[in-house]
Amino acid sequence: MKKLPPVDVVLVGFGWTGAIMAQELTDAGLQVLAIERGAWRDTPTHFPPTTAPDELRWYWRKEMFQSNARDTLTFRNNRDQVARPMRRWGSFLPGEGVGGGGVHWNGQTWRFLPSDFAAQSHNTARYGALPEGMTVQDYGVTYDELEPHYDRFDKLCGIGGKAGNLRGEIVEGGNPFEGPRSAEYPNPPMHMTFSQNQFIHAARQLGLKPFPGPSANLTRPYVNPLGAQLAPCSYCGFCEKYGCGNYSKASAQTTILPVLMRKPNFTLKVQNEVLSITRDNTGRRATGVTHIDLDGNRYEQPAELVILCAYPLSNARLMMLSGIGEVYNPATGEGLVGKNYCYQVMAAAQVFYDDKFTNGFVGAGALGAAVDEYNGDNFDHTGLGFIGGGYIANWTTNARPIETHRTPEGTPTWGSQWKAAVADNFLTSTTVGAHGASMAYATNALDLDPTYKDAYGQPLLRMTYDFTPNDRAMARFLSARATDIARLMGGREVKVVLRDGPYDSMPYQTTHNTGGTIMGTTPANSVVNRYLQSWDVPNLFVMGAGVFPQNAGYNPTATVAALTFWAAAAIRSQYLRNPGPLVQA
């Protein structure tokens, strides 16, 4: 193994969190190296217009995503089953390559509710003890502490939206339930189309307060505080699962890389996979990482600071492979790495019109209207049998010809009648969806698979996950609320789409996997402290949604980014001055 010259900071993975961290730490004068296992990707070279909207290439042939021929995970619903490798991504789509999953996200950019960060203490105070087996806990950081960092991300991306709570004052037209914002969104909301207007009308009839979805698809030309330029969205409907060819979707490529890649104290190494975090003989100090290139050459990269910026599932696995912390054992409750794996629970109702055109192909990843009355603890859960909730929204994200085919109740699932129904309804249907939270249970967790290995002979990550009693009760509730709205939207008929039975890893839902490297208040309940610093190895930090102790009823990107800015600020203002634990255990 070749030993390379040391650097100040090594970043493992180079998506949103890697780019933000690199920008912040190079600004502080540090020599930063990012190691990304995928390839270089940029707008003009990989997804220029007329190449970006290629459904077959990017989505169906999975060119956007982690190669599961080299590394995948094994999956089972519960511990009585044998986990088998996912040989094709389905339910979620881990990214790979420069920009990570942030290249193929939709751009729905939410802030979590203040109460989401205190899910354990808030809900216990209001409803009493949490049910048996539910392992929900507080983040250890508050909304107010994160607010300036949310604001920075809004401005970095040029988020379009309408504030509902401006410095404590409720503003008409925005989300009245959101935490107080220090500033209005940098850009106006997207243009609502027919479906959103029907949704808004229906929601108001029910006494709800609809508002435009916050969007990282740019609503007008925008120059961010770094000078990077983002162009207005053309509503082509190729966001989620695609790179944006028009510079219209905020990603590392459009917001940070133009500035970062020019810096002399930043280096990016692509197509190198980090295999482990190395430590000194005390085990309390990371000395760097080992990585391997495409030719199989192995390298030791020494660094003063190691920051995991890969996908949450990969961060958790890398800690397990490196033997840092104890892997969680649901049988005994011992160990923390891999604990509190959570996902997300979706519910939907589809609306079919006779002669009204919804023209779903005129869409954008975050073109939508939403209501937040049934999210978090915005409503009284007494007697409902669950905590948490989700927003209900009507998005027009796409009508891509291979993927999009809504058909009314009773349509055969294949054959000429199915084809006729797809054609009949392609331009005249829409969906009201609920995007639900996921509360942690002891039974859902990540560990290393005892049998299956990746291309380098290292154990695959094993996921054990099923919907929980909380999920099921919440999904039934949200689905009924979504249906209420859908029925008032003036269509011919409504079809309720329920997620029944066990969790299925194949149909796509969201790429919002969380947990496994959770944050918290003490080394007894978390892998990282409130600054995302490892309790065990203080010069190791872990970014990403893996630190969420449980998932909220929102898309995670803004919270992931805000936590990264928050951690970077702690590193800059506290850690560099006095390297060591930032929270005394």
Binding site: P44, P49, G227, A228
Partner: protein, 407 residues
């Protein structure tokens, strides 16, 4: 010497910004700034190699010339040159060994620089790291390889002499005229050349062609290529590489990267004032493309171009160049338009605007006839009135670019 000193003093007095420059910066800093106004780095550096170490090939219609190493390296650079040697080269186009320089080195423009400025550049170059690196030999055919021939060329086309301010004009105008005509050597690209490579004076700054790019008309007045640009828009373009009307690509990218973005706003404003004082002759109406060409071009445009440049050609100002009214699109010479369609384009990243917004190549996707049709369509739509593009012109440029790339 006395007259030179007077000229310099007059120049320094022309603008208060220029005066501040001379009094508040060290000589080396002053030299750095003047070298930047002349974009010396652009020609004398192979991209990725040490600044000013030379060797960069400059294709000319007569053959390839390699810019020399102008670091103070003893053997391969100008380490043995005195200030007088350097002055003679810049002012008169004569090397230290007495041989003539080729006007690919823009001494016909640089001659307008006063001695004090040239000395400052000398001091700046002397302060840079010395890099021993030989430039490859030039590939000029005989008799052009015979440098003495240049004496005759100079006799016909070269007037040495430091810039003389026009007392009837404002100090700002004079500063602008000096920068544009002297160190900025804008005419090197933007003025059409005669058969022996000298500027056609009657076509001064009305557009030229260089290395298979058409440099547009940069006169303003009533009829110039930038008639509809304001002073502020000219400054913005030179400072950030883009403005409401266009974005810099290709060779102009380097000028902005190494030169104009480093200049003071006052100097850029002065250049704007000067350019805005220059009129161009009115253009005669161009032939319209055939209706069938317009129909095809409109359809190709809708599918491939309208997402960024908008259906009405207004683009997204500062992001995706507007095509309506663009001096690149309206240029009688269609080379740039065709080339951008074939190769794509990339706006120059600058300190102010680091994003290299890019357009993809359509060479793989559109035939010569399709490119001709869409180019003709944009040149004849939305108030543009440039002549149509033929399929043959596209074919020939595609071939030329292929051959150049193969070298």
């Amino acid at each position: 010497m006395r007259s030179l000193f007077l000229a310099t003093a007059a120049l320094a007095a022309l603008s208060t910004a220029g005066l501040a420059q001379t009094t508040s910066y060290s000589q080396v800093e002053r030299g750095r700034y003047i070298a930047a106004t002349g974009n010396c780095q652009g020609c004398h550096t192979v991209p990725g190699e040490a600044p000013y170490s030379g060797g960069r090939p400059m294709p000319t219609p007569f053959g390839t010339i390699h810019a020399p190493n102008i670091t103070f390296a003893e053997r391969s650079g100008i380490g043995r040159w005195t200030k007088d040697d350097f002055w003679r080269a810049v002012h008169q186009g004569i090397r230290r060994d007495g041989q003539r320089l080729y006007p690919a080195f823009p001494y016909p423009h640089f001659t307008k620089m006063p001695r004090q400025d040239v000395d400052a550049v000398y001091d700046y170059l002397a302060a840079l790291p010395r890099v021993e690196k030989e430039s490859p030999p030039n590939s000029l055919p005989f008799p052009l390889s015979w440098r003495r021939l240049m004496a005759g060329w100079n006799l016909l086309y070269f007037t040495p002499g430091v810039y003389q301010p026009d007392p009837a004009r404002s100090p700002e105008w004079n500063r602008g005229a000096y920068l544009v005509e002297g160190p900025g050597h804008c005419g090197a690209c933007h003025t059409d050349k005669n058969l022996v490579g000298a500027d056609r004076r009657s076509r001064h700054l009305q557009g030229g062609e260089l290395d298979n790019w058409a440099a547009p008309d940069i006169r303003a007045g009533r009829n110039g290529g930038i008639a509809h640009w304001s002073d502020a828009e000219i400054v913005e373009y030179l400072k950030t590489g883009r403005n409401a009307h266009t974005a810099a690509v290709s060779i102009m990218s380097e000028v902005i990267e190494y030169s104009t973005q480093l200049m003071t706003e006052a100097d850029l404003k002065a250049m704007a004032v000067y350019l805005r004082s220059l009129d161009s002759p009115a253009r005669s109406a161009a032939t319209k493309p055939a209706e069938s060409v317009m129909t095809a071009g409109r359809a190709i445009y809708a599918d491939n171009c309208s997402a960024c440049h908008r259906a009405d050609g207004t683009g997204v100002p500062r992001f995706f160049g507007p095509l309506a009214g663009s001096n690149k699109v309206r240029d009688p010479n269609p080379t740039t338009v065709i080339r951008i369609l074939l190769e794509g384009a990339r706006s120059v990243p600058t300190q102010a605007r680091p994003t290299p917004l890019s357009m993809p190549s359509y060479a793989w996707k559109l035939t010569d006839a399709q490119i001709a049709a869409v180019a003709s369509y944009v040149r004849a739509s939305w108030g543009n009135d440039a002549p149509p593009v033929t399929e043959d012109t596209v074919r020939s440029l595609r071939q030329t670019l292929k051959e150049t790339a193969a070298h």
